[in-house]
Amino acid sequence: MIQVTNLVKRFGDQVVLQGIDVQVDRGEVLAIIGPSGSGKSTFLRCLNLLEKPTSGTIQLQNSVLTFQEKKKIPNREMRQLRGKTGMVFQSFHLFPHMTVRQNVMEGPIQVKGISASKAKSLADVLLKQVGLHDKRNAYPDQLSGGQQQRVAIARALAMEPEVLLLDEPTSALDPELVGEVLTTIRQLATGQQTMIIVTHELAFAREVADRIIFIDEGQIVEEGKPSELFERPQKERTKQFLERFTQL
């Protein structure tokens, strides 16, 4: 369903991604792990074009975009691709001037043009799904971090994305709030939602992902099924990285 070919991202002289190839099937949950600054978040942000790739190809179903230096991609094509993705950010980025339900309704109404009453019932369904229907009239700053992140997940799901991109969804949370967000993501994984998750929660990645990619210095070092990658890492770099975590 998703096919990324030779994706390169440079910021000035700094090469952040040096040719990434990734394929994701429908319904698959892909976890991306790696040290800080390895480019894993940048990769995710390239997929919905919050960062414009320097070169390479991204294919998402029938949207195919090929990037080259100095080549301008028409806005319409960028939005067509982006419309198939949803994103959950590390620090939530809920709209503070809207209630929880308005946050979820905003995209469907403004972007998809569905009626307010349909958007409302859609929002109610999704808020029940993430367990926050009773908070529907609260404002984001009245919620805990974990609750905000679950609303952010509902907001992304409201656009019915083909693939949900999660950028370190639990990194900004207090330890006791991580669990509720992981539970929500786990539910999505058992459903049919295709997801790409950048995470530091290795135990969670292992449990929930169908496949894991280890990225370091802008390159894929190793990929495989969780059991293979965690129990029998092939590359020295992967072993080092995993050891550091298991020692903790």
């Binding site: 919905n48 919050l50 806005n75 939005r79 982006r82 419309g83 993705t85 949803g86 994103m87 950010f89 620090s91 980025h93 809920l94 709209f95 503070p96 001037h97 809207m98 905003e106 995209g107 403004q110 972007v111 404002y139 700053d141 907001r155 992304a156 409201a158 656009m159």
Partner: protein, 226 residues
Amino acid sequence: MDAIQWENLFDIQLAKGSAWFVFQGLKYTIIITLITMIVGLILGLVIALMRMSSSKILRYPARMYISIIRGTPLLVQLFILYFGLPVIGLNLSPFLAAIIGLSLNVGGYSAENFRGALLSIPKGQWEAAYSINMTYGQALRRIIMPQALRVALPTLANTLLSLVKDTSLLSMITVPEMLYQAKIIGGREFDYLTMYILVAFFYWIVCTILAWVQDRLEDQYGKFAK
């Protein structure tokens, strides 16, 4: 030096008798302020967005505009429009010259207010808006502006209070606003002091009302904040 003549400080009879005449000028003050406020704020927002654009063709003219407006006296700008332009055959009525001059002025100052406010909104808000596939216009209108307006409100209110008071400069280009009216009577009755105190009082009332409106608006927009 003679003793100060306190009895001439304020002639209540004159003030009462001429209050209505001066009050006539308030109509111009209010109409010009309202029109200028609307035109100026729209202009200011457009200039702010141009100033923040990644395109040089938009950015440089906006910077130049802001620099000129903020770097030259409003009175000189008004003189150029009203007394200067007829030299090249452009005859503006006092009223039109006033609207154009003040709108350009408000535009220049509020552009910087807007820019500061827009920059104060975290980049993540733009990204979140884009992530649900909003266009630039939708993100600006639905997500960024409602938050930025709240930030900008106190400084915009200051700009608008200045605007009310700056309308007094229009007396210099023969717009019959409050100060102009007060000067007429002051000259006729040889009592400028009473008339200027009276007109100062009127400006103060108008500005106090506006400050009250500002407080209400801040309460309104502040709802989502703790």
